[in-house]
């Protein structure tokens, strides 16, 4: 029989202290988050109404709503993922299905790591040099397409990484079975590997929706204006090549730092909308991931 000697008691107490100490470390990071987000939502929620979400801004953003910014953010997210998702998925297919283990593959992987670490403002400078002036979509002026392409380059490495992980989770036997019945490499990828990993791929892409929606520095250099109302007469709300647009993230920056005579609650309301969008998208992606993991058959 074990009896509780003072030594064991001391050890147990020690254990509890250790747990509390490290628990405090984690809590010190997580609890402020809840307090701050809670504070912002409490301050901002009263100012959010249907009109706030669906009306154009007026008087330089001091009055009216944020409709133009919501539409602009949607445009940028849509176009940037339209570029980065297919390229990123195919790049991951190359790295996971075609590439062999050699120096060239190592360099490609290093480039992916490096691309992921480039600061967002440097991506912005790249966008100015490459898409605004060199590609010259809009006569040397900022445009939605330039901003979207800049963000596409920025999200590419993350999509490559998450897709690679999803692809490598498909068991090798699935591929071997197909090769045995004479399928080509691409047939195997298209008919077997991609359908079996689509959930993981989609989760990775969805997570990039919230990242592109929140990004500010690169788009303010390449395609987002502080104040650009929607053209209600044209076929498109914004013209993707000829127009600049507003965006939620930039609008928050502008309202919080530069605009005059703004009611105190307005920036809190914009921040609440932005946090709401990001958290809903991320929570959806996480729920999707948990659900699909539980259904996995192998």
């Amino acid at each position: 029989m074990f009896t509780e000697t003072p030594f064991i008691r001391k050890k147990k107490r020690n254990e509890v202290i250790a747990k509390c100490f490290f628990g405090f470390m984690a809590a010190a990071m997580v609890i402020p988050l809840f307090l701050i987000v809670g504070y912002i939502v409490v301050q901002g929620a009263p100012a959010i109404s249907w009109e706030f979400l669906t009306e154009n801004p007026r008087s330089g953003g001091a009055k009216g709503g944020i409709w133009a910014a919501i539409v602009g953010t949607f445009y940028i997210v849509f176009f940037s993922l339209a570029f980065s998702a297919p390229i990123g998925v195919l790049a991951a297919v190359y790295l996971n299905e075609y590439a062999t283990e050699n120096w060239f593959t190592r360099i490609v992987n290093l480039a992916v790591v490096n691309l992921a670490g480039v600061p967002s403002i440097v991506h912005g400078l790249f966008g100015v040099g490459a898409f605004v002036y060199f590609a010259n979509f809009n006569d040397g002026k900022k445009s939605i397409i330039a901003a979207a392409l800049t963000l596409a380059v920025m999200t590419l490495p993350v999509i490559i990484a998450s897709t690679k992980e999803a692809l490598s989770a498909v068991p090798r036997q699935f591929r071997e079975a197909c090769w045995n019945v004479g399928a080509t490499r691409w047939q195997v990828i298209w008919k077997i590997v991609l359908p079996n990993s689509i959930s993981g791929i989609l989760t990775g892409v969805i997570l990039q929706v919230s990242r592109t929606a929140g990004e500010t520095a690169p788009v303010m250099l390449t395609g987002v204006a502080t104040y650009k109302l929607l053209d209600s007469t044209g076929l498109f709300l914004y013209h993707p090549i000829k127009d600049q647009c507003m965006a939620l993230s930039m609008h928050l920056y502008y309202i919080a730092t530069q605009a005059n005579n703004v009611p105190k609650a307005t920036p809190f309301a914009i921040a609440t909308v932005l946090i709401g969008v990001v958290l809903i998208v991320n929570a959806a992606a996480i729920a999707f991931r948990v659900y699909l993991r539980s259904r996995k058959k192998w």
Binding site: M29, V122, F126, G140, V153, P157
Partner: protein
């Protein structure tokens, strides 16, 4: 006699399609290389014309950043480098103990549901956009700092460092937790069997065994903090200044580009210098991130 097996043959078209797709996949595969070189090339190209006129000693060490002067503009980024370094260093001073402590907590003390919940929360923490963090610094932290420390200005070095600490903790926790998870359970069991307390186990066994991974986690946090733009633009006070205390406003390299590029004209010296700052930033973060990657790969090979 062999039975006659009909030999399946692919049509010319199918082979063509396969080739085309393979080419496409290959081009996308090397896109990362193209973009990394593209970024360096275009950022360098826009800034290069100024290199001829640039006095390197003045550029890196002078603390006089007066780019808009019509008489004698001065382009010294010394103070901006000091700003970036001081904000990053203070942020890491806060984030490293808390981030790695949280990683130990998640990896060694939590199980099942708690662990999953904590990891998801930290993931969400990472998703909050940097402009929102900047706004938090401006509207929440600044009044708090003024009232707690009785200082006249709340947007300063400390404010930005606290934000950067909160922003770089998630990546440290997730990489640090991976590193601790990679330590074999037999190490833990051996420690416990020898009668080690939890403290001894963590300090004497787990941290030495996982030290490369933890170092990589810190480096990735540093890379993130150096490159951060909007939060530091809004929360540092944005004054070109060598700080004397943590309550002084500073200005960083990233924030300078973000704030000033919109007001320069294409091809002016000011515009070109901002791109050269971009080249400097690109080089610093490339070194930091590649170092982190080599350290992580080193562990995997072992």
């Amino acid at each position: 006699m062999k039975p006659a097996v009909p030999r399946a043959s692919r049509s010319q078209l199918a082979i063509m399609v396969e080739r085309v797709i393979e080419g496409l996949v290959y081009i996308c595969g090397i896109s990362a290389i193209i973009f990394v070189f593209g970024i360096f090339f275009f950022v360098f190209k826009e800034g290069a014309p100024f290199l001829a006129k640039l006095n390197f000693t003045e550029f890196f060490f002078s603390k006089e950043w007066i780019p808009t002067s019509s008489v004698q503009p001065k382009y010294g980024i010394g103070a901006l480098i000091v700003g970036t370094v001081s904000v990053t260093a203070l942020a890491m001073l806060i984030a490293v103990p808390f981030g790695l402590g949280a990683a130990v907590f998640v990896s060694e003390f939590c199980t099942g549901k708690t662990k999953e919940t904590l990891k998801i929360t930290i993931e969400l923490l990472a998703a909050i956009p940097s402009v929102v963090w900047g706004f938090i610094g401006l509207s929440v932290m600044s009044p708090v700092i003024i009232s707690v420390f009785h200082v006249p200005v709340g947007v300063n070095l400390l404010n930005a460092a606290l934000l950067l600490a909160l922003m770089s903790v998630p990546i440290m926790v997730s990489i640090g937790e991976d590193a601790l998870k990679a330590v074999p359970d037999s190490y833990r069991e051996a420690g416990i069997a020898l009668g080690a307390t939890k403290w001894q186990l963590i300090y004497r066994v787990l941290i030495p065994a996982a030290k490369n991974g933890l170092l990589a986690a810190v480096l990735l946090g540093v890379g993130r903090a150096i490159g951060e733009t909007m939060a530091v633009l809004m929360a540092t006070g944005h004054a070109v200044n060598i700080p004397d205390s943590i309550f002084d406003p500073v200005r960083t390299l990233t924030a300078t580009i973000a704030a000033e590029l919109g007001e320069t004209s294409h091809g002016s010296p000011h515009y070109q210098v901002l791109f050269l700052i971009g080249v400097v930033l690109f080089s610093i973060t490339a070194v930091v991130n590649l170092a982190a990657d080599f350290i992580v790969k080193g562990i995997k090979r072992k």
